[in-house]
């Protein structure tokens, strides 16, 4: 267990064999070989510092080698935001960073301190990390989610599709029973048209967005409310000078009636650093 009264180990490589229960919480890897102390900005006010190896460093704080967990959502929320804040601060100070997901902790082993394990990892994955570093340098991640109002789109299709128009006419003119039988047919047809339209729009938007960004990852769409259906969910890696251009393109999309755009960022490039 972590002893809070124990002095924080800032220069880690001096300590050869720490107690087995020690670990290091990892925030990110920075493109800088500096040994630095970032202050008490970590989770629960922990001292954050760097463990350098050559021209890279890991941004960490000392912790027991067990995961952070809490039943209290407020606590969890605070942790997540703190993690993000530390990655941002590291980014401001060191330039390019490769962020890690929340709750990544490296433990020590017998005769090997957590620091050494981190260094071993940096050494082992050096080429890979460098490659990622180069990819995300001077870029940031943005979230782009495009929604549409299904009701508006349905109305539009109903107005324009000849097939649907004539089927609608049929339903109005036929007796109740017949109309009832025709309704599922109409619904099916509408569904197909909607899918076609969604496909077309997605392809169009994707192509337009692609022009302004370095890389796109297509994420799973999520269920939202009835008024706004998520059409596409993208993570975009965007060059710093290009973000304005992306904003302008998204502006155009959001001006189309029945469409909404959610544009978030800049984020550390979480979606573009995963290995494998």
């Amino acid at each position: 267990m972590l002893d809070n009264n124990k002095p924080e180990v800032v220069v880690a490589n001096e300590v050869k064999a720490e107690s087995k229960g020690e670990g290091r919480y990892l925030y990110c890897v920075a493109d800088n070989g500096e040994r630095a102390d970032l202050g008490k900005i970590g989770l629960d006010g922990k001292e954050v510092y760097t463990i350098p190896l050559a021209d890279l460093c890991a941004v960490v704080h000392n912790c027991p080698s067990e995961p952070y967990k809490s039943e209290d959502q407020e606590v969890v929320k605070r942790w997540v935001m703190t993690h993000e804040k530390v990655v941002e601060i590291a980014g401001e100070r060191f330039g390019t960073v490769l962020p890690l997901g929340f709750d990544t902790i490296i433990k020590g082993e017998e005769d090997i301190s957590p620091e050494e394990n981190i260094k071993n990892w940096l050494k082992q994955d050096y080429a890979n990390l460098k490659e990622k570093m180069n990819k995300v340098r001077d870029k940031a991640e943005y979230g782009v989610q495009i929604f549409w109002d299904p009701k508006f789109i349905t109305d539009e299709i109903t107005k324009t599709s000849e097939e649907i128009k004539s089927l609608n006419q049929d339903i109005i003119s036929k007796p109740k029973g017949m109309a009832y039988m025709l309704k599922p047919k109409l619904e099916n047809l509408l569904k197909k048209e909607m899918e076609k339209k969604a496909d077309l729009c997605s392809k169009d938007f994707y192509a337009r967005i692609k022009k302004c960004v370095f890389e796109i990852r297509v994420e799973k769409t999520k269920k939202t409310d009835e008024k706004r259906q998520m059409l596409m969910n993208l993570s975009c890696l965007v060059g710093k000078e290009k973000s304005k251009e992306l904003g302008e393109e998204l502006q155009k999309i959001s001006e189309q009636e029945g469409f909404f755009v959610r544009f978030t960022g800049p984020w550390p490039p979480y979606s573009f650093v995963a290995f494998g």
Binding site: P99, I105, L129, E219, G276
Partner: protein
Amino acid sequence: MEPIRDTHATLVDLLDRILDKGIVIYADVIVSVAGIPLIGVNLRAALAGMETMLKYGVMVDWDEKSRAWEREHRKKKVVPLMEGEEIVLKMFGSQLYSEGIYTAWRQGQLHLTDKRLLLYQKDFDEILFQTPLEKIRGMVIRKEKHFTKEEVEVLYLLFQDNRVAQFRTVDIYRLKEAIEERMKVKGLTLEENPILPGFDRRVLKFVRGEEKVAHISEMWCQPLIQTSGGILNDVWNPGSLYLSDQKLCWQHHFNEKTTVEIPLDELTDMKIQIRDLGGVLKKKKLLVVSCNGTETCFSGEEEKICQWEKTLNKIMSKQGTQLEMETCPQCGEKAPTDGLLEKGCSKCGWVSPKLREEVVETVV
């Protein structure tokens, strides 16, 4: 368009990234749970549903409310007993509930206490049936055919007011013995070999006035309603058909209107027809009664139809306009002789000694 980064508005976007993404380290030096690299593994549980929660904003409140509701409803419900009342026997059981054409075995927990017999439905916290032990006049166990064609033993309780209640449970004899024992303790006596009234009390409630009922049973009736197209109305309605000393009547169960009323001297013909009634009801016997040229059809269980055939034939053959009447030896009410002898008195529940013997034989 400017990107947004307000911490609250974008928390979900942040979570999406921070929990599932970032550098993945493939090394055994990472804290892990059963071999899975630990990236928020433990937090996932805490965070599950957070997105929804944030969307609705007030989730924390709502959640607490639903928990409170759950707590309240999970509370072990106990059968409401009177002060000092003690449970003697508790078993699952059911009672035949009947209202109009609707009948059902209602299930619950049968509780025999030192004061009452009650059927309690735990889930709805409702007492489906209860009676003070003092009101029980007698008990009979009868073997009956269940609709699954199995024979089931049913406990009939006969009450002071001639009402009858039917119960089923796994060990019906144990229930009966327990009630008997309880009655003995209370110094109450049960009638030996009580005879159940031959008349179903619940159909009798339709009969009013001074009419003396000779025969009654639940029957379906097809009212002859001429529609504009000249087609007969093909609707069968549930109700009770009864023969009194004056007339043959049928009363609708739901609106309680007597829609068929034939004075006995106007009853011109009665015959049995066999017809398909639609659906699975093929080749069913129908009772057709004629009066002044109008025919009315009744359907029901075949056994009932045969009884009606017999009863009505008797009346028709006598050509008499009057039913034979007799006085009940117990209460002094006038009643049609056949009914009195074959079924007992509809008013007080008196049963002739001969019938009593017969019934005892069939029961034992």
